[in-house]
């Protein structure tokens, strides 16, 4: 079975006169927009300028939205910020990006422009100034501004992915840029750390650690650079999940003979028990409106995904095929829940539609695909495949690894857009 493309993402073209131009990238063969990246105007270190162009091109490739045209066919191939639209129309470029870089030992000035060659207009124009180490950030910022102009919202170029790094018997929390650049440790606990979960809009993470013997929840403040123990009510304090407003936390605790999902305030103080039984209740994930939770329970005999309506307290099973479905992740727009399900001896990533209940398989092959985590725009899923972090692009179903680190990498958690 071929990978199923079913996510319909419309690129909204800027309004020209009365008409809106839509490109349905769901249609195979037609979806990719031909784009030309004109050679940048460079003043200073050519190597750095080349790097900037490469970062930008990689960003465009990451989205899967574009057909990046080869510079060999360019008619206007002298670096210039001037544009002759005719020359780009002739080679079939719908979009053209022009750039200018001034590099001095102290500072970098970057100017970038996105043109609609077919309409003959500039869609985005930005100037950035920063130190050398801000180059990557400046390019990502433009790429996001460009995607916002094309689709109505920024992409994921200013996001990070936290994950568990496994080496021998130790597991620490690490973080990397969305593209695998600059992976580095956030904890040095020298014990087991698990389940990193980003705050919905701040530079904070919740995670589970055995630092004091039992699995307990810690809060890591990335700005202060400190981790503190937050939830330690029982023998088992695992799988934390922030509410969409960041004011509450859903967490699995074991109290007495029972195991349940509890609601705490943002300081870890218990507000109430949401669901409890003598079985398993774990891995809560909030709906984006904060009115529901999805979680895993064995109340039906095997691990399955359930939703809990926080208003009516009604529990509904949403995974029906397979004997082992876990790790639910509610999509940012609320329309899907992704999860890992066992099929023919391997874990695969599935999504279930919250409207129709229809279930689709997204990964295939003889490998374990686990712990799906949505990108904030809902266009991507990060997951672990045989202990490596992969990105699944939902627009075309393709997937790719982002890190080349030794050891194991598990449980990715995609950050919100970071300022």
């Amino acid at each position: 079975m071929k990978k199923i493309i079913f996510f319909v993402i419309l690129i909204i073209w800027p309004r020209i006169g009365h008409s809106l131009v839509y490109i349905d990238i769901n249609t195979p063969g037609q979806q990719k927009i031909p784009i030309a990246i004109s050679p940048f105007v460079i003043k200073g270190d050519k190597q750095i300028a080349l790097e900037a162009q490469q970062i930008f091109q990689k960003d465009l490739e990451y989205t899967g939205f574009f057909n990046i045209l080869s510079p060999e066919i360019f008619l206007e191939n002298i670096p210039t910020l001037e544009i002759d639209f005719k020359k780009w129309q002739l080679i079939g470029a719908y979009l053209v990006v022009k750039g200018k870089l001034e590099i001095t030992p102290q500072v970098i000035n970057l100017e970038m422009r996105l043109y609609d060659a077919s309409q003959g207009i500039m869609l985005v124009g930005k100037r950035y100034q920063g130190k050398k180490n801000a180059l990557r950030f400046m390019v990502h910022k433009f790429a996001d501004a460009m995607m916002e102009a094309l689709t109505g919202e920024p992409s994921i170029f200013q996001t990070k992915i936290a994950f568990v790094y496994k080496s021998n018997n130790i597991k620490e929390i690490f973080v990397t840029d969305f593209d695998g650049h600059n992976p580095h440790p956030l904890t040095r606990f020298k014990t087991i750390c698990l389940s990193p979960k980003w705050h919905p809009n701040e530079k904070k993470l919740l995670f589970t650690s055995y630092k004091k013997g039992k699995p307990e929840i810690y809060l890591l403040d990335l700005i202060k650079g400190e981790a503190k123990r937050l939830i330690y009510h029982s023998n088992l304090n695992i799988t934390p999940a922030w509410s969409p407003d960041g004011n509450r936390i859903a967490v699995t605790l074991a109290q007495g003979k029972k195991q349940g999902i509890y609601l705490t305030n943002k300081h870890g103080k218990i507000i109430k028990c949401l669901v409890e039984s003598e079985g398993i209740n774990v891995s809560p994930t909030w709906s984006p409106d904060g009115k529901k939770l999805a979680f895993v329970s064995d109340r039906g005999g095997t691990p399955q995904i359930y939703t809990l309506n926080l208003v009516s307290n009604k529990i509904r099973r949403i995974s029906f095929s397979g004997s082992y479905n876990t790790s639910p992740a509610w999509s940012p727009k609320g329309d899907f829940i992704a999860y890992a399900g066992l099929k023919d001896g391997h874990f695969q990533i599935f999504v279930v539609s919250m409207d129709s209940g229809e279930i689709r398989q997204l990964t295939f092959g003889e490998a374990n695909h686990e712990s799906p985590s949505w990108s904030p725009d809902g266009h991507f899923l990060a997951y672990s495949q045989n202990e490596k972090i992969y990105i699944l692009r939902l627009t075309d179903g393709s997937s790719f690894p982002i890190l080349s680190l030794p050891g194991g990498q598990l449980q990715p958690s995609w950050s919100p857009r970071l300022k």
Partner: protein
């Protein structure tokens, strides 16, 4: 006669202060040798008695120590046996199997005989399944064994539990044999 000698000795002791007793003893010995003999006879039994008592005391202590060592060794052996005997579970399950029940009954009996023992039950899973679910499952496995022991009369206050999920396998291989070993409750004595 003896009494007369005793009186004499005592009177001598009174006359001659202890500080120079040694010097003064020689004179009576040379003057009345036959009277000193019985004096020496009186002393040894007294000394003998004292010495004998001391020897007895040492033996008792040693014996007690040896017995204690032996009791401790036996306890340690029993504790090691207690700790080394895991119970095992079916895949994705946390009910107590018949083979595990037999082991738990033995453990409960031993815990009744050693009411001072407190223990930690560690719940473990095999590597299959997801990390988070296995953390929850490991807790249920440890809890099952605890509840089983409590139902056999063991004070729940003596039992702590912890889940290690799939984090600490005894056999790191990926095969049914290893998985079967890893799906376990391990018992650790934390105080006795």
């Amino acid at each position: 006669m003896k009494r007369g000698i005793l009186v004499l000795v005592l009177s001598l002791m009174v006359v001659f202060p202890l500080g120079c007793a040694k010097k003064m003893v020689e004179k009576p010995v040379s003057v009345q040798p036959e009277q000193i003999q019985p004096l020496e006879e009186v002393k040894p039994p007294e000394e003998g008695k004292v010495v004998g008592m001391k020897e007895e005391a040492i033996t008792e202590e040693e014996l007690a120590r040896q017995q204690k060592i032996q009791i401790e060794e036996t306890l340690k052996e029993e504790m090691a046996k207690f700790e080394n005997e895991d119970i095992h579970f079916d895949f994705d399950k946390y009910y107590i199997r018949p083979d595990a029940a037999e082991i738990l009954k033995k453990k409960a009996q031993w815990l009744k005989e050693h009411p001072e023992v407190h223990l930690l039950i560690e719940g473990h899973c095999d590597e299959r399944g997801t990390e988070e679910y296995n953390l929850a499952l490991g807790e249920r496995r440890a809890n099952s064994a605890k509840e089983f022991l409590v139902s056999l009369g063991i004070d729940p206050k003596r039992i702590s539990i912890i889940s290690y999920g799939e984090e600490r396998p005894v056999d790191p291989r990926s095969c049914e044999e290893a998985w079967a070993k890893n799906r376990r409750d391990h018992f650790v004595i934390i105080s006795y």
